[in-house]
C-alpha cells in the first residue's frame, strides 16, 4: 500500500460495528459524559461500555473503595453503585443516543446477583434502551445465593447466566469474563450463544495496612487493575482466542497504542482502555491515534489483518 494511505480501522465485535477497535472498560469511563470536556467522545472512540447497571438501584460498597498499590496498580471495590436501569436511562439515555448518532457504539453493561436479577435487568434494558448497540454481561457480580462467589465462576454457572439472558434480546451480547479458566469458560459461553467475550476483569487481590491490620479498602478482597496486570491480560486473551471463534475485546492495563496492539496480535478484535482513563483522561483518544499509526507502520490495509497475527 502507498505510504500515505490510512489503514481501514473498522472492526466488528460480534455484531457491534465499531469505527475503530477502541472501547472503554466498564466502571472507568463513567457513562462517557464525564469525558466530554477532554475530547469529543462520540466522534473519536469505536465504542464505550457504560457502568454496570442492575434492574433495581444498588448502593455500592462503603468507604473506602480505592487504594493505590504502588506497583503500577490500584485496588478497587466500588460494588457496582448504580441507579437501576430506569434511572440510568433517564439520566444518560439522550446523551448515549447522541453518541450513537455520532458513530460511536454504546455497550450497556448488565449486572445481577441472581439469574432472576440478570433477566429483569435485561428485560428492562431491552424495553428502555433503544440506544444500546449491544450488551455486556458482567458475570463477576457476587452471587447472593452462593455466598458471594462470582455469578460466572464456573463454566456451568457462566453458561447458566448466558442461557438466561440470550432469549431476551436479539442485540449482540458480549460477556465480561473474570481472569480464570478463560478458555474453558469462554467455550461454555460461546456454546450458549455469546456473540463476543471481553477479558479480563480486575484480578482479585488484597492489600493490608499492617499498622491497623485492616484491609486498605472496604472489603478483604478487591479488584487489581492498572499497567501491572497487562501481561497477564495479554496471555489470557491469547489463551481464550485459541479456544473460541467469537471475537474478543482485550482489556487489562492498556495505557498506550502499543499495549492495545499487543492485545490485537494476541487475538483481540477490539480493546478497552480502563484504569488509564482515570490517570490520563485523554488516554483512549490517544490509543485510537497510536493504534492507527501502528497499523500503518505494519503496512496493512486493514487492521483486521493483524488480529491474532502473533508469531510464536
Amino acid at each position: 500500500m502507498s505510504k500515505d494511505a490510512r489503514p481501514r480501522m473498522a472492526v466488528n465485535l460480534g455484531g457491534i460495528e465499531m469505527r475503530n477497535p477502541v472501547n472503554t472498560a466498564s466502571g472507568t469511563f463513567g457513562n462517557g459524559e464525564q469525558f466530554e470536556g477532554f475530547y469529543d467522545v462520540g466522534s473519536t472512540l469505536g465504542a464505550i461500555t457504560c457502568k454496570g447497571v442492575s434492574a433495581e438501584p444498588w448502593e455500592g460498597n462503603p468507604v473506602p473503595r480505592l487504594a493505590e498499590l504502588g506497583g503500577s496498580a490500584i485496588l478497587n471495590s466500588v460494588g457496582l453503585q448504580n441507579p437501576g436501569v430506569p434511572g440510568f436511562v433517564k439520566h444518560y439515555g439522550s446523551y448515549l443516543q447522541g453518541l450513537r448518532q455520532k458513530g460511536c457504539a454504546v455497550i450497556c453493561q448488565v449486572a445481577g446477583h441472581s439469574l432472576e436479577e440478570y433477566a429483569r435487568a435485561m428485560e428492562l434494558f431491552e424495553e428502555l434502551a433503544p440506544f444500546a448497540s449491544g450488551f455486556e454481561i458482567n458475570i463477576s457480580c457476587p452471587n447472593i445465593a452462593a455466598g458471594g462467589a462470582a455469578m460466572g465462576a464456573t463454566p456451568e454457572a457462566a453458561a447458566a447466566v448466558m442461557r438466561t439472558v440470550r432469549p431476551l434480546t436479539t442485540r449482540p451480547i458480549v460477556v465480561k469474563m473474570a481472569p480464570h479458566d478463560v478458555a474453558e469458560i469462554g467455550r461454555a459461553l460461546e456454546a450458549e450463544g455469546a456473540d463476543a467475550l471481553s477479558l479480563i476483569n480486575t484480578i482479585p487481590g488484597m492489600s493490608i495496612d499492617v499498622r491497623t491490620r485492616r484491609s486498605r479498602v472496604c472489603r478483604p478482597t478487591a479488584g487489581v487493575s492498572g499497567p501491572a496486570i497487562h501481561a497477564v491480560a495479554v496471555r489470557m486473551v491469547w489463551e481464550c482466542a485459541k479456544a473460541v471463534k467469537v471475537p474478543i475485546c482485550g482489556i487489562g492495563g492498556i495505557a498506550c497504542g502499543e499495549d492495545a496492539a499487543e492485545m490485537i496480535l494476541a487475538g483481540a478484535t477490539a480493546v478497552s482502555v480502563g484504569t488509564a482513563n482515570l490517570v490520563d483522561p485523554l488516554c483512549a483518544a490517544r490509543v485510537v491515534e497510536e493504534l492507527e499509526q501502528w497499523a500503518c507502520d505494519q503496512g496493512v490495509a486493514d487492521i483486521n489483518e493483524l488480529i491474532g497475527a502473533f508469531e510464536c
Binding site: 469525558f35 448502593e59 462503603p62 480505592l66 503500577s72 478497587n76 482513563n277 482515570l278 483522561p281
Partner: protein, 280 residues
C-alpha cells in the same frame, strides 16, 4: 438510594487536562509546602474546587493527587497550592523544581457557596484544611460578608503563618460592627489556645451570632463543627477529603455516605457538602 444528581449548569467550565509550570515550591511550615504554578486552569477555578495533579517521577504510583488551593489568580494564570507532605505522592511533589512541567485535571468538583442569608460567617480550619478556607475567606471578603476564623494545628511549627496573616489582612465585611477574629489553637498549646478548634468554636458561638459556617480539616473535627452548628441552627458547608481515582465522576471510588441513604461522590457532588447531608 443512589445519588444521580443532574450535571451542574451548562455555564460551568468543562473539566480538562491543563499543563502547569512550577514557579516556586518551598516549605512554609513544618511538613507543609507551597507550590506556585503557572497554569491555564487558574482563571477557571472557583474557591473550594480542586485540581487533580500528576506528579512525575514514579511510574509505580499511577494516581493523580487531588489538591485544593489557597489562591487562583486569573490575570496572571497563577495557582497557589499549599500541601502537607504526608505520603509518597506529596513527597515527590515537594521535589518538583522551578520550571518543571506536568499536568493537572480541573476544575474539579463544586466549591463553596455564598451564604443564602445575611449575618456573619465562621470559618473553621484544621491542619491542611486551611488552604481552601483561605480561598473561602477571600470569596466572602469580596462579597462583603463579615467573618471570623478559627485555625487549628498540632503544634506551632505546623501553622502556616503567612496564610494566617492573609486572613487578618482581608478587608472587613460591609456593615460589620465587630472586628474580625482570627483565633489560633494547637493540640499542645505551643501557639494560641491549647485544645481543638471545636473547643474554641464552642466558646465563640456562645459569644457571637453566626448564620453560616465553613469548615475543612480532619473528619472528626468537621464532624464536631457540624454538631455544634446543628445545635445552634447555623448552616454549615464542609469540604471533604477522600482517596480519589479520577477526580471527575468517572470511577465512583470517592463515595460519601448520605443521611438520606446511599452515597454521593466526593469529586463530582462535592468536595463541598451541606454538613447536614453527610453521615459523619
Amino acid at each position: 438510594m443512589t445519588m444521580e444528581r443532574d450535571s451542574a449548569a451548562g455555564t460551568a467550565p468543562a473539566t480538562d487536562v491543563h499543563e502547569f509550570v512550577v514557579v516556586s515550591n518551598e516549605p512554609v511550615a513544618d511538613g507543609v509546602w507551597r507550590m506556585r504554578c503557572h497554569t491555564s486552569v487558574a482563571p477557571l477555578l472557583a474557591p473550594g474546587q480542586f485540581v487533580n495533579v500528576a506528579v512525575p517521577g514514579d511510574a509505580a504510583h499511577i494516581l493523580r493527587i487531588p489538591l485544593s488551593f489557597s489562591a487562583a489568580h486569573a490575570s496572571s494564570e497563577t495557582l497557589e497550592l499549599v500541601y502537607a507532605v504526608v505520603g509518597e505522592g506529596t513527597r515527590r511533589l515537594s521535589g518538583m523544581h522551578v520550571g518543571d512541567v506536568s499536568t493537572m485535571v480541573g476544575p474539579c468538583g463544586n466549591g463553596w457557596a455564598l451564604p443564602t442569608r445575611g449575618g456573619r460567617a465562621l470559618l473553621v480550619a484544621g491542619g491542611v484544611g486551611l488552604p481552601p478556607i483561605v480561598a473561602c475567606a477571600r470569596m466572602l471578603a469580596e462579597a462583603f460578608v463579615g467573618f471570623d476564623v478559627i485555625v487549628g494545628a498540632q503544634t506551632s511549627a505546623k501553622h502556616v503563618e503567612y496564610l494566617l496573616d492573609e486572613l487578618r489582612r482581608m478587608p472587613p465585611g460591609e456593615g460589620c460592627d465587630c472586628a474580625r477574629k482570627v483565633l489560633v489553637c494547637t493540640d499542645d498549646g505551643s501557639l494560641g489556645t491549647r485544645g481543638f478548634t471545636t473547643d474554641v468554636m464552642a466558646d465563640l458561638i456562645a459569644d457571637r451570632p453566626y448564620s453560616q459556617a465553613y469548615t475543612c480539616g480532619p473528619t472528626p473535627m468537621m464532624a464536631g463543627v457540624a454538631r455544634l452548628c446543628e445545635k445552634r441552627s447555623i448552616a454549615c458547608q464542609a469540604s471533604l477529603e477522600r482517596m480519589m481515582g479520577c477526580g471527575f465522576g468517572a470511577c465512583s471510588c470517592c463515595n460519601v455516605a448520605l443521611t438520606v441513604g446511599g452515597y454521593a461522590l466526593c469529586c463530582k457532588d462535592g468536595p463541598v457538602f451541606d454538613a447536614r447531608e453527610v453521615v459523619w
